[in-house]
């Protein structure tokens, strides 16, 4: 066992996982399942919330359970259980087969799965130094409380909300050919400063630090400079509250990766999920304008647009060794030279549409749910010798530089979207010219990406992301990262959100 492997939660590793898998898979086989897979999971989560430096929320969750998924006569069956015993595993297998038989009457598309090599016994652990669950809550609260008090000490700041979410996820998977034990760690620190003026106006400014597939070291100097970011927050907030309201119209935009990641998530990430494009999410999450008949032809954006899907990038929130169907992590093109080049797949979708092998996007958010195709890390690649952010701003006569995500919404076919942000700077003749308020950008996906004139270089690249991407019924949440450089977009429609709310 290498050092990597020794990081795995010993309580989880000590469970009789292989015995449970054997009990479930054998039972499913005896009852006539053509395919069966078994998962056991333990997910630890901790949420810390502070209001003005005082502890408001401290919540520890520790969820474990098992799941059995079968295909019986071409129909899915799924069942889960909370007890990690061989009896419960066998019982779940019986239930899954029973569910498949009840459901068979409603099924007209036989389930077939793309093949995947058997990897035998494998172990994978995400890249982090310090497991946040080894740090006492008191120490974590003390650090965030100090940051909160530092912000509150500035007269520009009326209130401070602070939160820290942490997850350690252990997954065991077996389909007989591949048996994988995996562990990953992620955390998301956020601080929001609030200013309330005497005349009843208020505004907020949030840190731009992204959620990361890292350990506690992320809060102590590795991967982000919180001290520097917090130091500039009060002044930025004060200036925002005093800033002029934007004049609606068309503007050239320089968009920082701290904002653009979410636009990528909504307008590219979800649009290139094959199950959506085929209509499987039509009644809920929606479909996609980027249908498979347009693969290799759809002009998604300008020629400099190169978007990849991956489950491999270091510190990525969707990064894992093997997905929830035993498929090894991969990296592939979704958009190449501005043209639709690929989709995110699971084994069923890959087989159904003739893609050959799955690219490993099956994920379930816990033992109680059936895996779905969920989002890989979907990232816009920087231009190899591309411009700096300052160079991009230098190319704009009359525009806006946007940082940080805030409000987001997109339609059910991923055409029409509207985003706001944390910070908006007016650009005048290639230079930043103070902040603006009440800015939202609204566009249609292909128009927006078609207006991308310049893609920033690797020096502007940042991995953003979210813990809580929602999909499916019953609803599931998934963590996902999106990397991107700063970009220059020409002539994007800007709304004034204050005017939008005034009749």
């Amino acid at each position: 066992m290498d050092d990597h492997e020794s990081k795995i939660d010993q309580e989880f590793a000590a469970l009789p996982l292989r015995d449970l898998a054997d009990a479930a898979l054998a039972q499913a086989g005896r009852l006539g399942a053509q395919h069966a897979d078994f998962r056991a999971e333990r997910i630890r989560g901790q949420q810390i919330g502070l209001s003005d430096g005082n502890l408001q929320t401290l919540y520890d969750a520790d969820d474990s359970g098992l799941a059995v998924r079968v295909v019986v006569d071409g129909t899915w069956g799924f069942a889960s259980a909370v007890d990690l015993t061989a009896d419960a595993a066998a019982q779940a297998a019986r239930q899954a087969v029973e569910v498949a038989r009840v459901a068979a009457a409603l099924n007209t598309e036989p389930i077939e799965l793309a093949s995947e090599p058997a990897y035998g016994e494998v172990t994978w652990v995400s890249a982090y130094d310090v497991d946040p669950f080894t740090i006492s809550a008191a120490d974590k609260v003390a650090l965030i409380a100090q940051w909160s008090r530092d912000l509150l000490a500035d007269p520009a700041v009326s209130h401070v909300d602070a939160s820290l979410r942490q997850v350690r996820e252990c997954k065991f998977y077996s389909d007989g050919g591949t048996t994988a034990i995996q562990q990953r760690v992620r955390l998301h620190p956020q601080l929001t400063a609030v200013a309330v003026s005497g005349d009843g106006r208020f505004d907020t400014m949030r840190t731009l630090a992204p959620p990361a597939g890292r350990g506690y070291e992320f809060l102590t100097g590795t991967g982000w400079d919180f001290a520097a970011e917090l130091a500039e927050l009060p002044e930025l907030l004060a200036a925002k509250l005093q800033a002029p309201s934007v004049e609606p119209g068309r503007y050239d935009l320089v968009i920082d990766p701290s904002n653009l990641w979410l636009t990528i998530h909504e307008s590219i990430g979800h649009a290139t999920e094959l199950d959506r494009a085929l209509g499987y999410e039509a009644a809920y999450a929606g479909t996609s304008f980027a249908t498979p008949d347009q693969l290799g032809r759809l002009q998604y954006g300008s020629g400099g647009m190169h978007v990849t899907g991956d489950r491999t990038v270091e510190h990525g929130l969707a990064t894992i060794g093997y997905d929830d169907e035993g498929v090894a992590g991969q990296s592939w093109d979704l958009i190449r030279d501005g043209v639709l080049a690929g989709y995110q797949l699971d084994r069923r979708m890959a087989k159904l549409e003739g893609f050959g092998r799955s690219n490993g996007c099956a994920f379930s958010d816990g033992p109680g749910h059936m895996p779905l195709q969920r989002m890989a890390n979907v990232s816009l690649q920087p231009a190899a010798a591309g411009p700096s952010t300052a160079d991009l701003i230098g190319g704009v006569t009359d525009g806006i530089y946007i940082l940080g995500d805030k409000s987001w919404s997109i339609d059910m076919q991923r055409y029409n979207f509207q985003f706001t942000g944390q910070r908006f700077f007016r650009i005048t003749n290639g230079r930043l010219d103070g902040q603006l308020r009440d800015v939202a950008y609204q566009a249609t996906t292909t128009d927006f990406w078609g207006s991308m004139e310049a893609v920033g270089g690797p020096q502007t690249y940042l991995l953003g992301g979210a813990f809580n991407c929602g999909k499916g019924q019953p609803g599931q949440v998934a963590p996902v990262s999106h990397g991107c450089p700063a970009v220059l977009m020409r002539g994007v429609r800007i709304l004034n959100t204050a005017a939008e709310g005034t009749s």
Partner: protein, 495 residues
């Protein structure tokens, strides 16, 4: 072999193991069965059960009172004491909680407890299983085949859940609540996917779901959409059906907390300090209220809090809930609060309740019922008349939009509670009292608070399924409303 303990035994064992000065234990048993279908065939399904034990340990010491909360799913009997120790460890190692207070005791002066007719503490937890969907699945199979034959594609989801919650405290409180919940969502599309219609219903037991009837209603709406009309962005007189009203007002309800309003940072803050309680928000005599005993919408009649937040407190667990008007006769009447946040804001204690009803006061009030027949062009109801049905409101419309539902609703500006989102699965043009065609979808930018000030007409309140927020909040009764100048900010090409 499984060695499963009942949730009641788990509560008692955890309380017996507690060494801290105060302790709250919440044991929950949840079961669920679901079916999902797309393109006239089943896609996924499943049954699941989970068991959750949450221990809240209270540590009172020199620098204040701290709470440690540890929640674990799927624990075995031998692990209960571990959870209690972890919670006590968390409390001892934590900073004082800002909402610290006395626990609710068995001797609390207000009589309260189990909902009328609910099982008592000692009976087995409620449970659901795939059999609840048995008759529904058979009917669904027929409906899917009929739709296929008629050239329609059906997509949708059906789920039934049961959650039994057992709450015990070291102060002697023992409370139990069983919450059944279920829903069916049905989306019909034309074979070319160009036309789409949606409907959804909440149900507590699936005995009242008529899937063929829901499909027939959608077939009618797809027929409406055979004539399409392109309209530009702009402000339109708009009829919002109950589901759309519920999604806007649920967000308003979630945003109506006492603490942040008192801090000057929400739409319900009064400039210069304090809250807008007492201020008129609508000229219509409308009431937005919650009541744990509302018929058909019953929910827990006491506070169940796993974690403290701005307006919730783990110290309030077991606090009785009673009917609360958030807006009364058009004026803001209450803001959601814990005992702690109510004290900060100087307001009565009115914790959040898990259902929501919006209704207009009419002197000739009629009970909520199914839609009336007939579509005569009538004037809007005179003062004192019964509230109209949606069909009657369509019939009295000269020109306006009729929505099906709203989707992807997100907050844009907390200062005005401006929300954005999309219309979905059917926007219809109404002219001279009749639907004359289907209109393109729009992105809207609207504030539900501002909208209350532009209500032209409020219809009869009926139970509805919130399409956007149904995953988190699905007990609502809402009327259709007619809004002046609903802000359709841009056209969405999505169909």
């Amino acid at each position: 072999m499984t060695g499963e303990l009942s949730p009641q035994e788990s509560v008692e064992r955890a309380l017996a193991a507690a060494k801290s000065v105060g302790c709250v234990v919440i044991a929950e048993e949840t079961s669920e069965a679901n079916l999902r279908w797309a393109g006239n065939t089943l896609t996924t399904n499943g049954v699941s059960r989970s068991r959750q034990l949450t221990v809240i340990a209270i540590d009172r010491r020199g620098d204040g009172t701290a709470a440690g909360v540890v929640s674990r799913a799927g624990i075995r009997p031998g692990q209960i004491e571990d959870v209690v120790r972890e919670a006590e460890h968390a409390a001892a190692g934590s900073a004082p909680a800002e909402d610290a207070g006395e626990l609710i005791g068995a001797g609390h002066p207000t009589p309260f407890g189990i909902n009328d007719g609910e099982p008592g503490w000692d009976t087995q937890p409620g449970r659901t299983e795939i059999g609840v969907l048995g008759d529904f699945a058979a009917a669904l199979g027929q409906t899917l085949r009929a739709a296929e034959a008629a050239g329609r594609k059906l997509y949708g989801f059906a789920e039934h859940q049961m959650e039994s919650t057992f709450l015990g405290t070291s102060t002697g409180l023992r409370l139990r609540h069983d919450q059944p919940a279920g829903r069916v969502e049905l989306n019909a599309k034309s074979a070319d996917l160009a036309r789409s219609a949606w409907t959804g219903v909440s149900t507590r037991d699936f005995t009242d779901v008529d899937i063929a009837g829901l499909d027939a209603g959608l077939a009618g709406r797809l027929h409406w959409a055979e004539r399409s009309v392109s309209l530009a962005a702009g402000r339109y007189e708009t009829l919002l059906p109950p589901t759309a009203v519920s999604d806007l007002l649920i967000y308003l309800y979630w945003s109506a907390g006492a603490k942040e309003a008192a801090e000057g940072r929400t739409v319900f803050s009064r400039p210069g300090g304090g809250t807008r309680i007492g201020e008129r928000l609508s000229a219509q005599p409308v009431t937005l209220s919650s009541d744990p005993r509302a018929p058909g919408l019953g929910c827990a009649p006491f506070v169940i809090s796993h974690a403290s937040g701005p307006d919730s407190s783990v110290f309030d667990n077991g606090l009785p809930l009673s009917a609360t008007d958030w807006i009364r006769d058009g004026s803001l009447a209450a803001l959601g609060s814990s005992r702690h946040s109510a004290a900060l804001a100087g307001l009565p204690v009115t914790p959040a309740i898990d259902n929501l009803t919006f209704a207009v006061r009419t002197s000739g009030s009629v009970p909520a019922s199914g839609p009336a027949s007939g579509s005569v062009l009538t004037p809007g109801p005179a003062s004192g008349a019964a509230a109209p049905t949606l069909e009657q409101m369509i019939a009295s419309t000269r020109r306006g939009l009729l929505l099906t539902c709203l989707w992807y609703i997100r907050e844009v500006d907390p200062q005005t509670l401006l929300l954005t989102g999309l219309t979905r699965d059917g926007v219809y043009l109404v002219e001279n009292g009749e639907v004359t065609g289907a209109v393109n979808n729009f992105r809207f930018n609207e504030s539900p608070v501002a909208m209350l000030g532009r209500l032209l007409e409020v219809g009869v309140t009926v139970p509805t399924l919130p399409r956007e927020w149904g995953d988190y909040f699905n007990r609502a009764a809402m009327p259709p409303v007619r809004v002046e100048g609903f802000n359709m900010s841009s056209v969405s090409p999505a169909s």
